[in-house]
Symmetry: C2
Subunit: 282 residues, 2 copies
C-alpha cells in the first residue's frame, strides 16, 4: 500500500521556515505584508481570504485586506493595484478571482509588479518560471507539488515525470519546475490518445487535468509517485481529486490524498513567497 | 530511406505568403519594416545582417540598419531601442547578439516592445509563447521547426514529440508550440539518463541540444520524423547538425538536412513575423 503524502506536515515546515525568516526581517524593521485584493462580494473569495488571514500569522505574514465594490470601474481597480505596486510596506499582492465580468482580468493581473506577484499571476512573472534560472515566485499550486516531493525526499533528478494537464496556472509551469529539478518531463492532455502508454513510463505522475477521478488503474503503472492536484465535490458531498484514489493507492508507491494533499500546501507556499519577496527587498 | 525535409521550399512558401500580405499592406500605405540593431563590429553579426538584408525584399520587408559603436553606453543603446519601440514606421526590432560585454543584454532585450519583438527576445514576448493561446511572435528557430512540419504535412495532433534540449530560445518554446499543436511533448536533456528509451517512443524527434552528431542510431527508433536544429562546423570544415545524419537517415521516415534544413527557414520566419506585426497595426 502506498505511502500517503499528507500536505499538512509539508505546509507546517514551510510555515516554520517563513516564520523564522520573517522574525529576522521584523528585527530589521520589515514586516512581510500581503495585500489581498477582493472585488465584489462572492462567498468563495471571502472564505479564501478568511483562510489566508487565519493562517498568515504562523508564516509571519501580515494581511492587508483591500475590498473594492462589485461595480468598481476598471481604472480604479488598476489604480489600486498600481498603488500597492509602489507601496514599500507591501511585499506581496494577491488579486482574488474570479473578477466581476465588466473587468479585464488579463489587464489587471498584468498590473501586479513581478517582484510582488505572490501567486505569479502576471505574464511577466510567469515568464520567470519558464526561464531557465528564474528566481521569482511560481504559481502556488505548481510550487506546492514541488515542495511535497522535496519534503518527502522524492528525487526528480533523472526521473521521468508525466504532467497531465497543460493549463497556464498548473500544468505548464509545473512542467517547467520539474524540468528545473532535472526531471525528463512529458506533458499530456485531453488530446493524448494513449494516456496509459505515457503514464506507465513515468516515475512521477501529476494529475492536473481538472476531471474528477479520471486517472485510475487503467492508465497507471506500479510503484509510481502520484500527485493529485484536482479537487472536486462529488454528488454525495465528498471531495475527490483527479485521481481515483481507491484504484491508484494499491498500485502506487506514494500518493497525495484529496483533501489534505496539495491543497493543504498552496496557501503556505503563497505566504512563503511573500516572505521571500520581503527578503529580496532587504 | 528517409524523405529529406529541405528547408528551401518551406522558406520560399513563407516568403511568398509574406510578400503577398506585404503588397496588400503597402497598398494601404504600410511598409513592413524591420530595424536591425547591431552594436559593435563583429563579422558574425555583420554577415547575419547582410543575409537578412539580401532576403528581405522577397518577403516584402524593408530593413533599417542601425549601427551603434562597440563602446556605446547602456543608456544610449536603451534609448535607441525605446525610439524604435515608439516609431510607427518600424514593425519589427532585432537586436543582434552577442552584445559587447559592458552592456546588460537582459535589460536591453527586455526593452523591445512585445508587439515588435521579431525574434521573441524579451521575457514578455516569451510569456506569450508559454501562454495557452499566444498570438505574438515566437523564437524564429522554434517556429521554423513547426513551419517545416506543417509544410510537409506532418501532423502533430495526438503524436508524441520528443524535444532534446531545454534552452530558452529553442527547446522550451518549441515544446510549447508542439503542445499548442496538440502533440504529447517530452522534454529531455543532458540529465536524462536513458535518452534512447525516451526518444524511441516518439513519432517526432527534435534535436536541439547543441552537440555535434550526438543523436544517432543508438538512441533513435525506426520510422520517425527527425528535425535537426543544430549546426556546427566539423574539423574537416564541413557543417553538421546535432544528429548523426548518416546513422539516422536510414532509420527515419523523414529528416531535415544540415545545412539546408531548419537554418534555411529561420530568417524567412523572422521576416514573416515582421509582416504579421505590421498587419496587426493595420
Amino acid at each position: 500500500m502506498a505511502e500517503i503524502l499528507f500536505g499538512a506536515p509539508v505546509a507546517a515546515a514551510i510555515r516554520e521556515r517563513s516564520k523564522t525568516e520573517s522574525d529576522a526581517l521584523r528585527a530589521a524593521g520589515i514586516v512581510p505584508c500581503l495585500a489581498v485584493v477582493r472585488i465584489g462580494d462572492r462567498p468563495d473569495t471571502a472564505s479564501y481570504a478568511a483562510g489566508l488571514e487565519k493562517g498568515a500569522p504562523k508564516s509571519g505574514v501580515e494581511i492587508r485586506r483591500i475590498e473594492l465594490p462589485e461595480t468598481v470601474p476598471q481604472e480604479e481597480a488598476a489604480r489600486t493595484l498600481d498603488g500597492l505596486d509602489r507601496d514599500p510596506s507591501v511585499h506581496g499582492i494577491l488579486l482574488l478571482s474570479p473578477l466581476p465580468k465588466h473587468l479585464d482580468a488579463d489587464l489587471l493581473r498584468n498590473r501586479i509588479a513581478p517582484e510582488k506577484d505572490a501567486d505569479c499571476a502576471s505574464d511577466l512573472s510567469l515568464a520567470g518560471v519558464f526561464s531557465k534560472n528564474g528566481t521569482g515566485p511560481a504559481p502556488a499550486t505548481a510550487r506546492a507539488v514541488m515542495e511535497i516531493l522535496r519534503f518527502y525526499g522524492i528525487p526528480t533528478e533523472g526521473r521521468r515525470a508525466a504532467v497531465i494537464g497543460r493549463s497556464q496556472v498548473v500544468g505548464r509551469p509545473l512542467a517547467m519546475l520539474l524540468l528545473r529539478g532535472n526531471a525528463t518531463v512529458t506533458i499530456c492532455h485531453s488530446r493524448t490518445p494513449d494516456l496509459g502508454a505515457v503514464l506507465r513510463e513515468a516515475d512521477i505522475v501529476v494529475a492536473a487535468l481538472g476531471r474528477p477521478e479520471a486517472i485510475g488503474a487503467a492508465v497507471l503503472g506500479e510503484g509510481q509517485v502520484i500527485v493529485d492536484v484536482g479537487i472536486h465535490r462529488k454528488e454525495d458531498g465528498h471531495l475527490c481529486g483527479d485521481v481515483d484514489q481507491a484504484e491508484a493507492a494499491p498500485l502506487a508507491r506514494a500518493i497525495t490524498p484529496v483533501p489534505g494533499g496539495v491543497g493543504a500546501v498552496t496557501s503556505a507556499v503563497l505566504l512563503r513567497q511573500v516572505v521571500e519577496s520581503a527578503a529580496r527587498t532587504h
